[in-house]
């Protein structure tokens, strides 16, 4: 695509779980993801999709190998530095939205900005803008309990985007929704990807959705088989 350095680069990245038996969840993975790409990660259950996602999301540490994000080696960072990076350059959308039930949609979207130490006013402006973007301008003051599954997932997407991350990670973001709503959410992610030129990495086992991505990464037994 461009000759810029990749936003994410994996070099021999390996994750081994030692629960009595050794289990190589991710085996010598090498991968480059460029800025603005929409990448789908597919593969059967237990193939290492989520492990890869958690490593890139700085929620887990690799056993060996190197992970570069924005050219920085993140494998040897402290909890504080990793938390800071998760806050500033990563956005997450999971299968379950895990919105704070006692906060309104607007406040939930404001939360990453408040964690970053931004003022309430600034956070509110950004959150309102993003909730409009995902089509929830009329639902800002509703709590998660008063919203449908699809609406909550849209709030979660707005929340993932609130700190203007360079990478948005989706772990089965449509997995808990009916097909029609799932398609709508997927379309929304695709549109936002084009609009903001952010890198999107989405784990899914829905081949049809995956086929719409710029790039498909297929994992089998912890190994990247097709790129």
């Amino acid at each position: 695509m461009t000759n810029e350095s990749p936003v994410i680069e994996l070099k021999n990245l390996t994750k081994v779980y030692q629960n009595g038996v050794e289990f190589r969840a991710l085996d010598n993975a090498n991968l480059r993801i460029e800025k603005g790409e929409f990448v789908a990660i597919v593969g059967p259950s237990g193939s290492g999709k989520s492990t890869l996602m958690h490593l890139i999301g700085l929620l887990d540490s690799p056993s060996s190998g190197t992970l570069l994000i924005d050219g920085k080696d993140v494998t040897k960072m402290s909890d504080k530095e990793r938390s800071g990076m998760r806050n500033s350059i990563l956005g997450f959308v999971f299968q379950y939205h895990h919105l704070l039930p006692d906060f309104t949609a607007l406040e939930n979207v404001m939360m990453p900005l408040l964690i970053a130490g931004k003022s309430r006013e600034k956070a509110k402006n950004v959150a309102e803008e993003l909730l409009k973007e995902v089509g929830l301008e009329g639902r800002m003051d509703h709590r998660p309990g008063e919203l449908s599954g699809g609406q909550n997932q849209r709030v979660a997407i707005a929340r993932a985007l609130s700190c203007s991350p360079s990478i948005v990670l989706g772990d089965e973001p449509t997995g808990n929704l009916d097909t029609k709503t799932g398609d709508m959410i997927y379309e929304l992610l695709r549109r936002l990807n084009k609009e903001y030129n952010q890198t999107f990495i989405v784990v899914t086992h829905n081949e049809e959705l995956a086929s719409k991505a710029d790039k498909i990464i297929r994992l089998v037994d912890g190994k990247i088989t097709v790129q």
């Binding site: 929620l59 909890d79 504080k80 800071g84 999971f94 895990h98 964690i115």
Partner: protein
């Protein structure tokens, strides 16, 4: 407002019932502690008023091997130069046999300078008949306790015969009767210093000096200063240690007992918060993914515990003070048997600094007990928490 405080407050508000229970439990314990302290402080204050305030704070006795203080004028001058001394009363005291008609009784006859003695013992306040100052105006007069008067069957104006081996017998006119409610009513009689010296057949000497201080807590310090001059001097805490023991035992046992109740109530908060940690696993995992540090997650729960403690302490001390003041309004029914002494109201003392220290201590205690649920929350693996519903 930090996001930690925002989340802490919102969660407390969302769990209204549990919050109310936790705050209520702490408030109840703090209330009991506050009321108990107010009663105890009142009791202690009353005890000081009825005993220590009327005791000589420091008692000076003759040098080792001597029966009398000869140059007591000089000694008094020395003592009066000590910082914090407000009154000094020299006295000559000894045993005497009192006889009126067919009744006779032995008791202590104490010769004093009435105006100075009154500054030590406030005996004038306890006079039920006659006047203490009268001792100053006429010679060969005596002021006796009410029980003594009763036993001898003497009235104001009667003359009693006072004698003792090696003493000059005298006939003393009763010019006053006092009633303190203590055993002194039966065992003590006052006369002037001059009369006592005449009775015991001594020159112008005394065998003791009573000293009153502005702050009775300085008794040992002042006693030590007087001892440097060469006389024996003892503070009231040495001469009457029983008073201190009573106060110390009462206040320690009360504080420990009710303090433990507060601790128990605070631990109730721990279990409530632990439950809420379990219920909020997914949210905690998500907050971690959003970039909240482990310390931030911990603060959310420590803050909740602290806020519950603070609210409980505020409500508890508030109601405790109200109840204490209400108790203080209660009029003790007059009892002819004198069982309550001269108390007409239940003594209550509310120390603002003690109330503040309760609030602060309970708040700190709850911050500490909040560490356990906070650590439970910190231990949550964000990956597992996020992956489960």
């Amino acid at each position: 407002m930090s996001y930690e405080l925002l989340i802490a407050l919102r969660q407390l508000r969302a769990r209204k019932f549990q919050t109310l229970l936790s705050v209520g439990a702490i408030a109840l314990a703090v209330m009991v502690l506050t009321v108990s302290h107010s009663l105890l402080a009142g009791f202690t204050g009353e005890l000081y008023n009825t005993t220590v305030e009327k005791l000589p704070h420091v008692s000076v006795s003759p040098e080792e091997g001597e029966d009398y203080i000869y140059l007591y004028g000089t000694l008094i001058e020395r003592i009066s130069s000590i910082e914090g001394v407000t009154a000094i009363s020299p006295f000559l005291t000894g045993q005497a046999s009192f006889k009126f008609k067919d009744n006779s009784l032995n008791c202590e006859l104490r010769g004093t300078v009435p105006s100075q003695e009154n500054q030590i013992s406030s005996i004038e306040e306890d006079m039920v008949e006659g006047s203490f100052q009268e001792l100053d105006f006429s010679r060969n007069t005596v002021v006796i306790g009410s029980k003594l008067a009763e036993k001898l069957k003497v009235n104001l104006g009667d003359s009693v015969d006072v004698s003792f081996p090696n003493a000059n017998p005298l006939s003393l006119r009763v010019v006053g009767i006092f009633h303190t409610g203590s055993p002194l009513d039966e065992s003590l009689a006052y006369t002037s210093l001059k009369t006592a010296q005449q009775f015991y057949d001594v020159s112008d000497v005394v065998n003791g000096v009573s000293v009153r201080l502005r702050d009775f807590n300085n008794d040992r310090k002042v006693a030590n200063e007087i001892e440097e001059v060469g006389y024996n001097a003892k503070g009231w805490t040495e001469t009457d240690p029983a008073i201190l023991h009573t106060i110390a035992i009462e206040s320690t046992s009360n504080t420990v007992l009710y303090g433990l109740i507060v601790v128990v109530a605070s631990f109730g908060v721990v279990s409530t918060l632990n439950l809420s940690v379990i219920g909020a696993r997914g949210q905690i995992g998500m907050l971690r993914a959003m970039g909240a540090q482990v310390s931030g997650i911990q603060r959310i729960f420590i803050l909740q515990s602290g806020i519950l403690g603070l609210l409980g302490a505020l409500f508890g001390t508030f109601t405790g003070v109200l109840i204490s003041l209400a108790i203080g309004q209660y009029e003790v029914p007059a009892d002819p048997s004198d069982a309550y002494g001269s108390i007409s109201f239940i003594p209550i003392v509310v120390h603002p600094q003690y109330i503040l220290s309760i609030i602060l201590a309970v708040f700190l205690l709850n911050l500490i007990t909040g560490v356990y649920p906070a650590r439970q929350a910190a231990k949550i693996d964000p990956i597992k928490a996020i992956s489960s519903k």
